[in-house]
Subunit: 299 residues, 2 copies
């Protein structure tokens, strides 16, 4: 297996990213950086690199949890921000989402056991997928007139968009850079919310695949409580990235980097260990998500 497609020089990468953050803070005349901290690996890595670039006194970690945010993630984020010594802004956005009517779409989950909810969500997703006769992530990218699909899209997307709105507010108020946390795996497959987590002033880790985000995080000594959990968008209880994408990050990243090299399918199969079907699926994700990387359609 040609795993080295994803290998990279960790120290050079770290220096490049730190230099990039410093350069744009200076060029755009900003006094520091704001990072939206979820407790996940991407935003933790970005926070760490911002601190390295600008110093902990010039970085604000903004936490914007809501009803469905995992408690472990909230606690992990708090703990990590405290360890780094950055200023923390903590604002629960449940009230805002509730006012808009978002929670009236799906019932609260805190009455139930976690295992029950996860089973319930999984079953609902399975039913919808069967009804639509397609992979749900693909259905999500393609859109369509199914009421349940529209409801689900509206439900999770506003959470990211609202967060970006508030993050920009704090960044502008302090004249700080808003530093985004998108990575290459999600950017290429459309695994993000348009004008949600895909907007910021700068995107320092967007040239790293998710598996590379893990490597760099380990290299920089990020704590286990950040690294050792399954990546999740943390928008709907119980759903993790790899289940939503229908493929492991290891395979996904290898397929994506093979595409980049222009390798033929048989070589991709050999390198990634993925099936022909998985490769086609990833290719379809890329194609169907093109519009997410574009501005509004103009007349």
């Amino acid at each position: 297996m040609e795993n080295n497609l994803l290998e990279f020089d960790l120290e050079i990468s770290r220096k490049n990213i730190v230099g990039f953050i410093r350069k744009y803070a200076k060029d755009l005349n900003r006094q520091g950086a704001v990072v939206g901290l979820s407790g996940g690996i991407d935003s933790s890595l970005v926070l760490k690199l911002c601190v390295e670039a600008l110093g902990h006194k010039n970085v604000i970690a903004v936490m914007l949890p809501e009803r469905d945010s995992g408690l472990k993630n909230i606690n992990d984020a708090k703990k990590f921000a405290k360890e780094l010594g950055v200023r923390i802004i903590y604002k629960k956005i449940t009230g805002i989402l509730s006012f808009i009517g978002v929670y009236s779409l799906y019932p609260p989950t805190f009455f139930f056991k976690k295992s029950f909810i996860e089973k319930y969500v999984r079953q609902k997703r399975k039913n919808l997928s069967l009804k639509l006769k397609k992979d749900l992530f693909l259905a999500n990218l393609e859109g369509g007139s199914d009421e349940e699909l529209s409801k689900a899209s509206a439900f999770y997307r506003i959470k990211h968009r609202l967060r970006s709105t508030i993050l920009f507010y704090y960044s502008e108020l302090n004249n700080y850079l808003l530093v985004g946390c998108a990575n290459k795996s999600e950017w290429l497959t459309g695994f993000f919310v348009k004008y949600g987590d895909s907007i910021a002033d700068i995107m320092p880790i967007i040239s790293l695949y998710k598996t590379q985000v893990f490597s760099l995080s380990e290299y920089l000594g990020l704590p286990d409580y950040i690294i050792e959990k399954a990546p999740s968008p943390d928008l709907i209880p119980g759903l993790v990235d790899e289940e939503l994408l229908g493929i492991s990050y290891k395979k996904l990243d290898l397929i994506l980097s093979c595409f980049e090299k222009g390798y033929p399918t048989d070589r991709i199969i050999q390198i990634s260990g993925a099936t022909d079907e998985e490769i086609k699926k990833v290719s379809l994700y890329m194609k169907k998500s093109d519009y997410l990387r574009e501005w509004p359609i103009r007349l």
Copy 2:
């Protein structure tokens, strides 16, 4: 004066826009359109064209006023939406902005006479401009470390971004197109909020200059209460577009269309009646707003 630079075939323009809206509703598999209605001329024109394209039963006018929204605009929007027979969603976002802390930046204005507030805002702007030694709109585009400037930017920008967040929510919930209202004059000069009023699914009037928006609105019979008021972003009491831009739309649009033709300065002066200084200012607005029309900076 070569005013005909801004003349265009109104009937062809109407048909093109209606066809454009219909095409993308169909292509993107959406059942209707959502328009954020402010009571101003741009969103009213877009609403009217959406109704023509998709029928009044398939269009939702979403009104999201806040503490500082002009009462006349709110009433005009309601009246116009009712006249067109579209579904209205009315949600005051004052509570959300207040929760985030936005209003703590500037005091409420309802205790004071309108004329007093306008004088106060004008004076504050003048002082800031003198302090920064530059045109305030330009200062706004360029950013910088002045605390008052940061505060003002944070204060007004979140209003548009929050609106877009909520507009996307309603459009996704109903599987409707989010139809944006940006015009060419504001798009080219940077007179908009990045990821605020500049995002939507489609932008049907972005190829029309503001003066052309007026012509088409008159042609389509938009009511006087929409047409006959000074365009304003309606974000800070008493501030109208032409004062913020420091130039009349008539001159601005002629200058912009001369730029498009590549005319030399003396010819632009002759055609637009603008001064050399005004032309330089517009050119600077265009240049300094480039970053507003770009995605986040990527490493």
